[in-house]
């Protein structure tokens, strides 16, 4: 060999058309090579097990999971990642079709989804719907419910010319997501992207036991041997505890001698990634003394040792709401019905595992992280560090799915304490397994609902009893006492209600917030009980609901009189489809078809407490409008919605607005992205900010409220009638508290008027959203399998700021409700991955027809209210009612996986 010839070290392959050589162990996953060695973070990692498809790339033109491909097998081959796709026009069209068609929400699955579609379009010119679904079947999406994705792929084959963005008002328009292009191109930064090259990594050592005592040995020896730092509970600078509510910070950042669930954090190892990977948990000096875990059944009956000393009966909290006399009304009812159900832990299964990085800057800590709640994270981290909240800066990345699971902190306190001690950047990305084992879940519930009605079909009473497994720590458990009883009646007039709920502590992962906060479980029981009442009275289930539906001017069980109430309109909107589908339900062979219905109401915002949002918009001296948008977009589309609201409130085109994303140093506190509150609460704050800035300009121009505002370079023109006034921005005085670049500044706050429920009275939410869904199912009575064939959903959203995004929320909620009903069951230690824990795939979500009802909410921005959680709630009870319609059987153990359905059918003599 010529000694002067360059020696090629590593593995060579073609990447996006160019040759590359990578020097890394050949067993390294291609996903890691792309992201870490080559810096191409458009390829996302969701599971490292081929279960989610987020890392899909093309190998020689065919789709493959980069996480299952060792670098050694890529040598000499051609790899296309999302970064290389746009070079080809037809694939660029595909990306644009995703953006235009509402196929992008959080965006974490989007690169993988686009690559899978590119594989299809590369080998098939005119694929049909079945071929599209087959091609996308290996990519999981947790946000969209897939229908808009399938439509986008079909659209990319025969693209329509995109319509021009409408001139004039944009509220109510189908504006494509403003952040959609970055997400479809793979350039959006998520929690695991953009980590500094010199960052150390943090790996959490977790309890393999559900309940145990433990002791720690010589950790200094581990540090010396491996060149890493080992952090324990004693390294927590401030309070070693966190939780949502301020009065009970009961979950330790790192456990102190006692663990209460499998997956609880015990140690944090910090060091170079390669060093951390070589450390075996089993070799660490931890001595375990496993104890018998406390399960839900034992804890409910009070026959279990206490998890926490201050809760000797393992009851974290109790809720009670009473109006009238439910027991007497039930005894007097002409008909009664009772439904008992048990539900399971449900995992959020966002495709982006928890991730972020932290760095200390002097006496401040800066944390870049995927989250739903920047300011709550800030305060929680400050408490753990023992510093003032202002010493912590939270810089949220794009959030690759939240659904409530990223309201609680996960990596945040661990990263903060590590960076605080080490004075260098520290990064952490949870593996799929630790994400599933250690983070919060939907509460399993054991519920009995007894309802009564009179002969005319009026619901006279409901007795609701629900125990909720809240896991080992408080998290959002207290909402079980608040939100559940209030929502237990559903959107109906009920004079006699008694609702009791309890949150029970067990040795399981903490149950936290998950899209609906206990209401999905609650109405899953109650809406079936109502169905039984209707059937016993020989009334049509839809007409029965309509007869009892809340109307404007009606009072709720807490005595709150509601004005914006659209449930009757939703049911009426569904009626034609209901009659048609219900009468057309045909059975064939072992397949029985059925059609069911269920309703929802949902209070927007936190329960019975202040939950303000503050927004800020500045007019800069160069003429740009800077929107300091404090709302964290978790995929639902607030980056777009808030800008639409601001544009119309201010009276300027959407393009005139530059938006920042949430950052606790730059934006005001918009609260957390949860409780279906952002469009309603922060949207109203945004509208007020726009109006405030508009008012300032109109006053400067001495113009009336109908004047037109035209921002331009260095000046704003205010036009009214034939008159025009030019405001030179350089000449305006400085704005107090702002930088010199700010010419005008508006900061506004909206706090929805809500009062706590005391002695069964109160107005716990300023606004309620309403909806109802029809489900059509096909039950194979020999196998017990259930296929959902169609969903029709009608929602009162007050005003749809962006109908396409609203539809995306609803279809995505349906997909999660379908999963809750039919397949999702988290079992600690058993279903800690995305092949044993099942969420709906593209082949499981049927066509969803969305009917929007717009009954303006006076408090909401342009009449809008929330929809995020309402979307999920009726799906599962509608499916259960449809199964009953098809077979006459009710399924009491949820999810209704085939063997449970079959057992219920067999017990009723309805199977083969």
């Amino acid at each position: 060999m010529n000694a002067l010839a360059p020696v090629e070290v590593g593995t060579g392959f073609r990447l996006n058309g160019r040759p590359v050589v990578v020097d890394a162990p050949p067993a390294t996953r291609l996903s890691r090579v792309l992201r870490e060695n080559l810096g191409l973070t458009g390829t996302k990692v969701g599971c490292d097990a081929g279960d989610c498809g987020a890392c899909t790339v093309l190998i020689d033109g065919r789709q493959a999971c980069a996480c299952l491909l060792p670098l050694g097998q890529v040598g000499g081959r051609s790899v296309t990642s999302i970064e290389g796709l746009a070079a080809e026009p037809r694939f660029s069209r595909l990306q644009q079709a995703f953006v235009d068609g509402g196929a992008v929400q959080c965006g974490i699955c989007t690169p993988g989804m686009v690559m899978a579609a590119a594989d299809l379009l590369g080998r098939c010119e005119r694929p049909n719907r079945g071929e599209i679904e087959d091609a996308l079947g290996g990519v999981l999406c947790r946000c969209t419910g897939y229908r808009q994705i399938v439509a986008a792929v079909a659209e990319a084959i025969a693209p329509r010319a995109p319509g021009p963005r409408p001139a004039g008002p944009v509220v109510g328009a189908r504006i494509a997501r403003l952040d959609g292009r970055a997400r479809a191109a793979g350039t959006e930064r998520f929690g695991a992207d953009g980590v500094p090259a010199d960052a150390w990594r943090l790996r959490v050592v977790r309890s393999p036991h559900m309940r145990a005592r433990f002791g720690l040995g010589d950790l200094a020896a581990v540090e010396r041997r491996h060149g890493v730092r080992v952090l324990t509970a004693s390294d927590v600078p401030g309070v070693n505890g966190f939780a949502i509510f301020p009065d009970r910070k009961d979950q330790p950042v790192l456990a102190t001698g006692h663990v209460r669930f499998r997956g609880e954090a015990v140690l944090a190892l910090v060091g170079p990634g390669e060093a951390l990977a070589r450390i075996r948990d089993a070799e660490l000096p931890i001595t375990w003394e496993p104890l018998d875990p406390v399960g839900f059944t034992a804890a409910r009956t009070g026959e279990a040792p206490a998890l926490h000393e201050d809760r000797p009966d393992n009851v974290l909290t109790e809720g009670l709401l009473e109006t009238g006399d439910a027991a007497a009304a039930l005894a007097a009812a002409d008909v009664t019905a009772e439904i008992t159900i048990e539900t399971s832990f449900v995992e959020h299964a966002y495709i982006e595992p928890e991730a972020g990085w932290a760095v200390r800057r002097g006496d401040r800590l800066e944390l870049t992280v995927s989250t739903q709640s920047p300011y709550m994270d800030r305060d929680e981290v400050a408490n753990v560090l023992g510093v003032a909240p202002e010493q912590v800066r939270i810089r949220p990345t794009a959030c690759g799915g939240g659904f409530g699971g990223k309201l609680d902190v996960a990596v945040q306190p661990l990263l903060a304490m590590a960076a605080w001690h080490l004075d260098r950047p520290v990064a952490c990305t949870y593996s799929r397994i630790e994400s599933m084992a250690s983070t919060t879940k939907r509460h399993p519930a054991a519920i009995t609902a007894r309802a009564g009605a009179d002969a005319s079909g009026r619901i006279t009473a409901l007795d609701f009893r629900g125990d909720f497994d809240t896991g080992a720590y408080a998290s959002w458990g207290p909402t079980v006492a608040g939100r559940v009883p209030i929502h237990s009646s559903g959107p109906y007039r009920i004079a006699n209600l008694q609702a009791r709920s309890r949150a029970i502590l067990t040795n399981a992962p903490p149950s936290g917030a998950f899209r609906g906060f206990g209401v999905p479980q609650t109405l899953l029981a109650v809406e079936q009980a109502y169905d039984e009442l209707a059937l016993k009275l020989d009334l049509d289930p839809l007409e029965f609901r309509l007869l009892n539906a809340l109307r404007p001017g009606d009072a709720t069980a807490t005595g709150q009189v509601l004005e914006s109430v659209g449930i009757a309109e939703c049911l009426e909107a569904l009626r034609p489809r209901w009659r048609e589908l219900r009468s057309a339900a045909r059975s064939s062979g072992p397949v029985r078809r059925g059609v069911g219905i269920a309703s929802v109401w949902y209070g927007c915002g936190n329960t019975g407490m202040s939950n303000p949002s503050s927004q800020r918009v500045s007019l800069l001296r160069d003429g740009r409008i800077m929107f300091w948008n404090g709302v964290q977009d978790i995929g639902q589309g607030s980056n777009t919605i808030m800008a639409q609201i601001l544009a119309d409130a201010l009276g300027v085109p959407l393009d005139a607005i530059d938006s920042s994303s949430a950052d606790t140093d730059l934006t005001l506190d918009c609260g957390k992205t949860s409780a279906s509150r952002q469009t309603f609460v922060s949207g109203r704050a945004t509208q007020l900010a726009g109006e405030e800035l508009r008012g300032q300009l109109l006053r400067l121009a001495n113009a009336g409220s109908d004047a037109r505002i035209e921002p331009g370079p260095g000046a704003v023109r205010v036009v009214e009638g034939g008159h025009e006034r030019r405001i030179d921005l350089a000449l305006l005085p400085p704005v107090e508290g702002c930088g010199a670049e700010v010419a005008l500044d508006a900061r506004t706050t909206f706090d929805p008027p809500a009062t706590p429920v005391v002695d069964n009275r109160g107005a716990p939410y300023a606004s309620y959203g309403f909806g109802a869904q029809i489900a059509q199912v096909a039950v194979d009575i020999e196998l017990g399998t259930v296929k959902v064939e169609r969903i029709v959903a009608a929602y009162d959203v007050g005003r749809a700021i962006n109908p396409e995004l609203v539809e995306g929320q609803i279809i995505g909620g349906v997909a999660q409700g379908l999963g809750l009903a039919l397949m999702e069951e988290f079992i600690p230690g058993r279903t800690e991955n995305l092949h044993d824990y099942l969420i709906a795939t593209v082949g499981d979500v049927p066509e969803v027809e969305v009917l929007l009802v717009e009954k303006a909410e006076p408090l909401g921005p342009f009449g809008a209210k929330g929809v995020g959680e309402h979307a999920l709630i009726p799906t599962a009870p509608a499916i259960m009612n449809a199964i009953h319609h098809a077979t006459g059987v009710r399924i009491s153990r949820i999810p209704a996986i085939p063997h449970r359905v079959h057992a219920a059918l067999a017990a009723a003599g309805a199977s083969s």
Binding site: P25, R29, A49, D134, A277, R432, I827, G843, D844, H902
Partner: protein, 291 residues
């Protein structure tokens, strides 16, 4: 020590196997998920020096082919599900093709191999019932020589095979059937794509001109540690029309299965589901009849 070798000929591969212990790597669709499961609970992953020593078989071009021999079809150990789906295999390979479309998603089908599916020896391996119903054999090679085992002798139990530590599976060998033979594969899972089977059935059937069963092979998967053939039932149903045969299958015919309770289903349900699927397979569900 975390070594990684990618030999380009079988002899070299076999010498590496003989110098083991090493783990053979083909499509990686089982190896890397297992690695994620281990490293998720604090075991060093494959790309560390603590990882297993790997022999990457992907350079063995000779094993990438499906060969049509006089009396048999030989499927090389690197043939993927997608390869099998698109190859011009005869109609009685329908069950294999149907299984190929049900394994994972397309990403898995493009990378995973039929031979790897057998070597992984999951009780729920989608490839096993169709290949059992084809009387497939497994060809193993080592520096010591070559041998062939019937598939049901190769598979010993849950994640256990007869492959010696120094052996590689080189081919799946399928004896040819008459052109009129047909096969079918029915899989039951709790969702449409990316799903591990609750139960599955494969059937190969040959009918006479009167529509009566001349030859029948039935295999049930995910209902015992190793997917099982049902020889007594097969024999009993010969001479019947498929419709009559479907009605003749009784629960007692499945007595030799040993289904377990797990997160996907109860054992009792699996046994019942297998019966339903068997009757449906015999009844013609998904069966592509000769044109």
């Amino acid at each position: 020590m975390g070594t990684y070798n990618r030999p380009e000929d079988l002899d070299t591969a076999l010498r590496l196997m003989a110098a083991g212990p090493v783990v053979p790597l083909a499509g990686g669709t089982d190896l890397f998920p297992a690695d994620a499961a281990r490293s998720g609970w604090g075991e060093p992953p494959l790309d560390t020096p603590e990882g297993a020593d790997l022999v990457d078989l992907s350079g063995l071009k000779a094993l990438c082919r499906i060969a049509d021999m006089e009396d048999r079809v030989e499927i090389g150990a690197l043939v993927t599900w997608t390869n099998a789906l698109h190859d011009h295999l005869p109609p009685w390979f329908d069950a294999v093709r149907q299984a190929a479309r049900e394994v994972g998603g397309m990403q898995i089908q493009n990378r995973g191999t039929l031979a790897g599916n057998l070597c992984n020896a999951s009780p729920a391996a989608d490839g096993v019932p169709p290949l059992l119903a084809l009387d497939a054999r497994v060809r193993l090679a080592s520096v010591r020589g070559t041998r062939e085992l019937p598939l049901d002798s190769f598979l010993l139990g849950n994640r256990r095979t007869a492959r010696a530590p120094d052996e590689l599976v080189t081919h799946i060998v399928v004896p040819k059937l008459p052109a009129a033979a047909r096969s079918v594969f029915l899989k039951l899972g709790a969702r449409r794509y990316l799903v591990i089977s609750i139960a599955m059935v494969a059937m190969t059937v040959l009918l006479d001109e009167g529509g009566r069963i001349v030859e029948l092979r039935l295999a049930v998967g995910a209902c015992s540690p190793v997917a099982a053939r049902l020889p007594e039932l097969e024999e009993r149903l010969v001479g019947l029309t498929p419709e009559v045969a479907a009605a003749a299958v009784e629960p007692a015919d499945l007595a030799m299965l040993a289904p377990i309770d797990d997160v996907r289903a109860s054992g009792a349900y699996r046994r019942h589901a297998a019966l339903v699927l068997l009757r449906r397979a015999l009844g013609g569900e998904r069966l592509q009849v000769a044109a």
